[in-house]
């Protein structure tokens, strides 16, 4: 209106591509993933890390944590934790294993039962958190132990053991089970490289999570619910519903991983999924998601899962005893947090 008014485009400052990249939440993860890849390529490249088989290996490990990580990162961006996902992998896996081997259910029914159970527990976790206002860290720490304890107790009560095997004979010729156990062949010269279908699930879920986060109103609500729940509620975001849905999605992702593990291996074990809750959080944090909510990236989490997979398999390819995996993982987490924090601070300081 006035003559002194700046031209409208001024409102959207052009940022250099580099600055734009640095201020993305997943910038640290891009650097970290690249660094880890280069390191293991250098020390283990000769021993198979860079081969197609090596890639199939570390991608499978990445897929296992990435499947949970995608959902966990959305939940963390919404400002909540779910520490019970690891126990949920064990519980859902045992439902599938017992359902098929003990009770003779067709695999599709056992899997459906596992998902229904997971969605119910997720709903319960979420509802308790939003109703009581207690920290989800505490609530799901409780469900972590309740689920694990119930899984061990009930499995031993029903079978007298803590492992249930022999699923192969029921699932081998079952087309539905192929959804979780199949291999995807990619022609590689004369041979065909075999990749686990889990990798497809992982990539699919990562794309879905990214799409939801960046391109839908629901994604905006996730950021709002985590960034400032009161504010979001004041402007009409159904914060409680968003959080409960994400708890359900997180538990369902654990059930998916459980189906993949149990049906692929052909046996259930009450201890499956141990520490997966921490690995999922680590992938999210490496990916630039902050613990206080309101900020993060599903792409970053996917890169975090990739980093985790490359680290775990890279150590083995490099001939380092696998005992050192946890040591390296902890170091990686701290390094990622430092880098992400430093980048975020620099990004805000250097703005005019």
């Amino acid at each position: 209106m006035s003559k002194a008014q700046a031209p409208a485009p001024e409102r959207v400052r052009r940022v250099s591509p580099l600055r734009g990249l640095i201020t993305r939440p997943e910038f640290g993860a891009i650097v970290g993933t690249t660094a880890v890849f280069l390191i293991f390529s250098a020390i283990a490249g000769g021993s198979g890390f860079l081969s197609v088989l090596g890639a199939a290996n570390f991608l499978e490990v990445a897929a296992q944590v990435g499947i949970i990580g995608s959902a966990v990162s959305l939940l963390m961006i919404a400002g909540e934790f779910d520490l019970s996902v690891g126990s949920m992998v064990g519980a859902a896996g045992m439902i599938v294993a017992l359902g098929i081997a003990q009770f003779g259910l067709p695999p599709v029914a056992a899997v459906a039962l596992a998902f229904v159970f997971a969605l119910f527990v997720g709903w319960l976790n979420g509802t308790v958190v939003v109703r009581t206002g207690l920290p989800s860290f505490i609530v799901t720490l409780g469900s972590l132990f309740i689920l694990r304890g119930a899984t061990i107790g009930l499995t031993r009560f029903v079978t007298g053991r803590t492992q249930v095997g022999g699923l192969d004979e029921f699932t081998r010729s079952d087309p539905f089970s192929q959804l979780f156990t199949a291999f995807v062949g990619i022609p590689q010269g004369t041979a065909t490289a075999q990749f686990k279908v889990a990798i497809v699930w992982w990539i699919g879920l990562a794309l879905l999570a990214t799409f939801i986060l960046l391109r839908t109103p629901f994604g905006n609500w996730i950021f709002g619910a985590g960034g400032s729940a009161v504010a979001a509620r004041n402007v009409g975001v159904p914060v409680a519903r968003v959080k409960v849905l994400l708890f359900m999605a997180t538990a369902a992702s654990a059930a998916l991983l459980a189906c993949i593990q149990v049906l692929s291996v052909g046996s259930g074990d009450v201890l499956r999924g141990g520490q997966k809750e921490f690995e999922a959080i680590i992938t999210a944090v490496i990916g630039g998601t902050i613990l206080t909510g309101g900020y993060g990236s599903a792409i970053g989490t996917t890169l975090g899962a990739l980093t985790l997979g490359m680290t775990q398999m890279g150590i083995i390819f490099a001939g380092i005893p696998a005992d050192w995996y946890q040591f390296v993982l902890g170091g990686l987490l701290l390094a990622a947090v430092f880098v992400n924090d430093w980048v975020r601070r620099r990004a805000s300081e250097t703005r005019r």
């Binding site: 400052r13 939801i212 391109r215 709002g224 960034g227 504010a231 979001a232 309101g294 703005r351 005019r352």
Partner: protein
């Protein structure tokens, strides 16, 4: 074709007979304490009503009742002369009553565009899984801020990097954009520097000039006298009086706030109609 939605913010009807918004005998008690007691107050269209009073006088409780954040124990609200009930803030917003709370209700890590549209995103397709129309939301944000002459470096800037005055302006801009009829502000100038308070008060004045009905809670009598057309004084949960800003002065208001010269309730009710 979308002009209807776009220009909603700019319109504010000139009121006819019944007041745009009215509280009729509303009371709210917390335990044994009457936070608001039997308050009747009308807000005719186009007026800017300042609500003043000491700490604990019930200003914020009254505002929250009007905004649907809390529900009165007794009494009711009227919009255009019709009794209404706001069980949630969303119900008040649906009728065109927007509130800028003291905490501003901004999502700090999100940028200006996302804050302006959070909860009311523009999307192709319906429901929470539609496809966000980011370009349209950005253009709209720029238009709203230009119209209000709000100066910020970029609409793609995270809100937490903005100054207090800029944040306040974003919160007001959001409320104006969505609130077609009444804008309620709780202490909009508190916690702002001198220069920033001036900018925000210019914004409030510009909105008043456009005929937007406003209700402003403030401690600062200088701002109150500069911006309001009427001053409602709250004391100990009751309405101590209502004055035309032009026909009163600092001293009288201060005395009313302190309880030294309270007007009879009947007079204040008629005062509302005269506005």
């Amino acid at each position: 074709m979308d002009d209807g939605a776009v220009s909603r913010a700019a319109t504010a009807e000139a009121g006819a007979a019944p007041p745009l918004l009215a509280a009729r005998g509303v009371s709210k008690a917390y335990g044994g304490v009457h936070a608001v007691e039997d308050v009747t107050l009308e807000f005719p269209a186009g007026t800017v009503t300042a609500v003043v009073g000491d700490n604990g006088a019930g200003k914020t409780t009254l505002i929250k009742i009007l905004a649907g954040v809390i529900q009165p124990d007794e009494g009711h609200l009227e919009v255009d002369g019709r009794a209404v009930r706001f069980p949630t803030p969303a119900a008040a917003r649906a009728i065109g009553i927007e509130t800028v709370h003291q905490d501003l209700s901004l999502a700090d890590h999100r940028d200006v565009v996302e804050n302006l549209f959070i909860g009311r995103e523009v999307a192709r397709g319906s429901g929470p899984m539609g496809l966000l129309d980011k370009r349209r939301m950005q253009q709209e944000t720029i238009r709203v801020l230009d119209e209000l002459n709000v100066m910020i470096p970029s609409v793609r800037q995270q809100v937490r990097r903005l100054s207090g005055g800029q944040r306040q302006a974003i919160a007001i801009g959001r409320a104006v954009h969505w609130g077609s009829r009444i804008l309620i502000m709780d202490e909009p100038m508190a916690a702002l520097g001198l220069q920033e308070a001036k900018r925000v008060s210019e914004l409030v004045a510009a909105l008043a000039a456009r005929g937007l009905t406003q209700i402003i809670v403030s401690h600062n009598l200088d701002h109150v006298f500069r911006l309001s057309t009427r001053i409602a004084v709250m004391r100990l949960g009751r309405l101590a009086g209502l004055r035309e800003t032009e026909r009163t002065n600092h001293e009288e208001i201060v005395r009313m706030v302190a309880g030294l010269a309270s007007a009879p309730a009947a007079e204040s009710r008629h005062g509302a109609a005269a506005g």
